[in-house]
């Protein structure tokens, strides 16, 4: 499959009468976006705001981060199965608004975490301090159940991102990148001497606030399967995960999956990037066994020489990760796993909840328990309830001088387990 991604560099976002993109500036009339959100009767109101890199702004509690894209050539539309029909995507041409993101926020549950600081120490840790963020804080109708609220905000984010993406239709890309995968036979003929490499992405799938969707299907119900990595770029995989801010994979990271990008960068040169294998992280142990068996079998059937495995979330996914690694290695396929650590505030505890000697090649996104002091910022988009009361690294998160003492785990994307950031630990 061949996908062109045309990049439209966004250099500023401004509220205006007319929504349009002009010379890299995104003009938005929030009044025209409101109906897109409120078409879901479960949402009572929405407030839009803009946060720019370097501003003294804190966005919290963050639910999802989404990159607006629009499909201009080829089959299907963005977020298939969610806002577009379930047509197979991943070929043709897609335009992406680079340098910006739609950030959904709102207190879906009382312990909803996720902080994006646009300046200060916190900004170093979240990748979304570098994007221009169009934030939407959604207020639910009275008495709305947590499940319904989560779904309403999730879907509203995709609709808004798709609507903004539409503004790019007809524009000329500032830069175009081409990503192409081949069929199995074609790949072997084209790159007979290159190692065959796959990418195993583990999707968080445990229940409310812990879900991931593939073409609209709750991934806890899938058995592992293969997709073209270009499908993920068109939004075939979206996040419904609201928990564990530091190591959840927002939709933005699925769309801009760094492992896919970096494997494509080597594709045809030092390796043959064969496919992406998606698998899940279920609660039930027999499901974990079945999924890891299937994943290892797929690696073998595809005659892969090596795979990179990435995970999502805290605790039990470590068991899926280790099961996958052990079983894939046992099939004679070399693995590198990407994870993060919970080594305690002092860094002295065992980092992972599971371990095996087969996991001899590990990339880490750092220790999520490490404590940071976040400065007091001038403006808050969203609400500070969770941060002040629960998120803290000590009894008193909110310190007398207005600064916050927290563990990295509350910062969105801080220890991403797809290798999205540069943070690491030794």
């Amino acid at each position: 499959m061949r996908l062109e991604i045309g990049k439209i560099n966004i250099t500023d976002i401004r509220f205006a009468e007319e929504s349009k993109i002009e010379k890299g500036v995104l003009f938005i009339n929030p009044e025209t976006l409101k109906p897109v959100v409120l078409e879901d009767e479960k949402i009572k109101d929405v407030v839009f705001d803009i946060a720019k890199p370097g501003e003294s702004v804190r966005i919290t509690p963050v639910k999802d981060v989404i990159e607006p894209r629009v499909k201009v050539e080829g089959k299907g539309g963005v977020f298939p199965g969610m806002v577009s029909k379930v047509e197979t995507v991943g070929s043709g041409k897609t335009l992406a608004l680079k340098g910006m993101a739609v950030v959904t926020a709102g207190k879906i549950v009382g312990f909803q975490e996720g902080i994006i600081d646009m300046t200060g120490v916190g900004a170093q840790y979240t990748p979304f301090s570098k994007t221009l963020n169009l934030c939407m804080v959604c207020e639910p109708v009275e008495g709305l159940k947590q499940h319904d609220y989560e779904k309403a905000v999730r879907m509203a984010g995709f609709r808004v991102a798709a609507k903004i993406g539409e503004l790019a239709r007809g524009l000329e890309a500032d830069e175009t990148c081409v990503y192409e995968t081949t069929g199995i036979k074609e790949g072997i003929e084209k790159y007979p001497d290159l190692p065959r490499v796959g990418y195993v992405s583990m999707l968080q799938t445990q229940g409310l606030l812990h879900d991931t969707y593939v073409y609209g299907v709750d991934a806890k119900q899938i058995i592992p399967t293969i997709i073209s990595p270009t499908e993920a770029m068109d939004g075939a995989i979206v996040s419904g995960n609201c928990v564990s801010a530091c190591d959840k994979n927002p939709t933005y990271v699925h769309q801009n999956n760094p492992v896919i990008e970096d494997l494509f960068a080597q594709h045809g040169k030092t390796l043959n990037f064969v496919c992406q294998i998606i698998t899940n992280e279920n609660v039930y142990l027999a499901d974990k066994e079945r999924s890891s068996n299937m994943t290892a079998k797929l690696c073998r059937m595809l005659d892969l020489d090596g795979v990179i495995v990435t995970q999502e979330g805290f605790g039990n996914p470590d068991t899926d990760l280790i099961m996958n690694c052990k079983k894939i290695e046992a099939e004679g396929v070399k693995t590198v796993i990407v994870t993060d650590e919970y080594a305690g505030r002092d860094g002295k505890s065992q980092s992972l909840a599971d371990a095996d000697a087969a996991a001899d090649a590990v990339v880490t996104g750092g220790n999520a328990n490490e404590v940071v002091i976040l400065p007091k910022l001038d403006k808050v988009i969203g609400m500070l309830d969770y941060v002040n009361k629960i998120a803290g690294a000590s009894e008193d998160t909110l310190r007398a001088d207005g600064t916050l003492e927290v563990e990295l785990q509350v910062i969105t994307g801080a220890t991403n387990e797809m290798g999205f950031g540069t943070l690491s630990a030794r």
Binding site: V109, G110, F111, K145, Q146, H147, Q204, Q206, G207, L208, L209, H210, K220, N241, V243, S244, D247, K248, N282, V283, Y284, L285, A286, D287, K288, G313, F314, G315, N316, T319, Y342, A343, G344, R345, S349, Q350, A353, D354, N369, I390, G392, A393, S394, E395, Q409
Partner: protein, 129 residues
């Protein structure tokens, strides 16, 4: 397979009390894990991962586990090594999170209960298939 639910979440008791065997623990998340450990030592097998969910163990006060009834065929209660390993790792993992102020806000507690119930439901769905 015969299994029962070990929980300290009252919503789980309400949801499954009439259709499933529920063993209610009037205690903390840690108490549930320790109880599970004892049951495992007596021959029960864990059916779900004890660290399910990404809500940190020093935030949510709730834990619900599916546990098989011990096999009555063996005369010596042999603990399932995989269950022993998982529960041991889970107890250790929970210990490395610092203790925080006990959460008393009823709305918040309810949210934790809802999420815990939802995660358990996904496991029960797999178990009852």
């Amino acid at each position: 397979m015969g299994y029962f639910i070990l929980t300290n979440n009252v919503q789980v008791l309400e949801e499954f009390g009439s259709t499933h065997e529920v063993c209610f623990v009037d205690g903390s998340l840690n108490d549930v894990l320790l109880r599970a450990r004892d049951l495992i030592n007596e021959g029960s097998v864990l059916l779900v991962h004890p660290l399910y969910g990404s809500v940190k163990p020093n935030e949510t006060p709730y834990r619900s586990l599916l546990i098989s009834k011990p096999a009555c065929t063996s005369d010596v209660a042999a603990a399932d090594p995989e269950s022993v390993r998982l529960i041991g790792n889970a107890i250790t993992t929970c210990r490395k999170f610092i203790d925080k102020k006990k959460i008393t806000d009823p709305k918040l507690l309810q949210d934790f209960q809802v999420v815990d119930l939802s995660l358990l439901k996904s496991a029960v769905a797999s178990a009852d298939q």
